[in-house]
Amino acid sequence: MKPPAFEYLAPVSLEAAVAALSNEDAKVLAGGQSLVPMMNFRLLAPSLLVDISRIPDLAYITEDGDGLRIGAMTRHHAVEMSDVVRQRFPVLHAAMAHVAHLAIRNRGTIGGSLCHGDPAAEWPGLVLLLNAQLKTTKRTIPAGDFYHGALATDLADDEILIEIQFPGLAPGTGWGFEEMARRSGDFALAAVAATICLSDDRATEVRIVVIGAHATPLRLTAAEGLLTDHVSIGAAADAAMQEISPDSDLHASADYRRHLVGVLTKRALAAAWKRAA
């Protein structure tokens, strides 16, 4: 349970960090809440760790029109405690309670969670739900294009995620976030997040994202379409179960995950509908 040897560098500018990442086997160290356990288990053995926590101005939550811009080094707990997040994106606030435990939320960063890309983690699904843009040292990537597979992102080896941009939600958008985990704070067996806009009691815009039941976070477009076509929540939940390809593992079988996605989709949509104005 001890990590292998590595060189350590703590640059104070993004330019220096990017330059250091051109070394073979170099890796960014952000909060270390995924990287350090993996190194302790010796699943990873980078030769150089580039600690980006001493680079100034990477942790912030800033209002941008109706939306928000959040720095990649912002800790989960800072998001959990932020008033402006609670007002504008209550779904983010609610989801933070499901991300690990207090001591891990104090250290873990949004950027680290997104770049690690665990399909059962909350942030990758949340950025997809909220149609966020991910700004890096090279370009800006729409959330929908960020993941290639489990733990696989579109980032180059020497590219650093610096900011996540959340466009404002339409007034009256309702939201739901439903997760099932074995123990409080564990990664999700499955989770479903949804937003709904209503007009004359009819759904005009629906987004549904599933977490933990597919190789990447996934938008359930068929289920979304059934709601905007005024079919029932039950039918949307049935469609959701067909859109995913869950895996079996130690914690749950694929069948059980599929069943959960049906139940959680129903609950998330019902909650979102109720909250929509």
Binding site: M1, A5, Y8, L29, Q33, P37, N40, R183
Partner: protein, 165 residues
């Protein structure tokens, strides 16, 4: 820009419980091991070394953190506090005394970490209710108590009046 070579020891300086300390560490040395083996501060316990059990929880700059998920070299210049900092010159602090009163510990392996997390919660949410306290305790594995004594102890010092006995 600080660059530290692999396999060599480098001096690390920070404050521990208000006192300036220093010691030598290879980059790969975990903070939990540095505290116990280099500095001889044994109050912080080590269980799983992957962030799950909570035994190694300390505070850095006022926030609870897992010392097994930090390298000692990362805490250069930071202010750390450990369970050794909680007691006052007059004896146990309120939370510690409540833990004793309500049998919130048996073997005591989990206790230092639990105290460090509850200390942050009390500062940030002095009126946290039982559900919130249990949520925070879920980040700590206790194999002895069944948690009830710990919850009672916390409710005794947090604002909730209903849980008091």
């Amino acid at each position: 820009m600080r660059y530290l070579e692999a396999g060599k020891r480098h001096t690390v300086r920070f404050t521990l419980n208000g006192r300036a300390v220093e010691g030598d560490a290879e980059p790969r040395l975990l903070l939990s091991d540095f505290l116990r083996q280099t500095l001889g501060a044994f109050g912080t316990h080590v269980g799983c070394e992957h962030g799950s059990c909570g035994a190694c929880t300390i505070q850095m700059d006022g926030k609870a953190v897992r010392s097994c998920l930090l390298y000692a070299v990362q805490v250069e210049g930071k202010a750390l506090t450990t369970v050794e900092n909680l007691a006052t010159p007059d004896g146990l602090n309120e939370l510690q005394a409540a833990m004793q009163k309500h049998h919130g510990l048996q073997c005591g392996f989990c206790t230092p970490g639990i105290l460090m997390s509850l200390t942050q919660l009390r500062e940030e949410e002095p009126n946290a209710d039982e559900a919130r306290i249990r949520d925070v305790l879920s980040g700590h594995i206790c194999r002895c108590t069944g948690y009830d004594g710990i919850v009672k102890a916390a409710l005794d010092v947090f604002g909730d009046v209903f849980g008091k006995n």
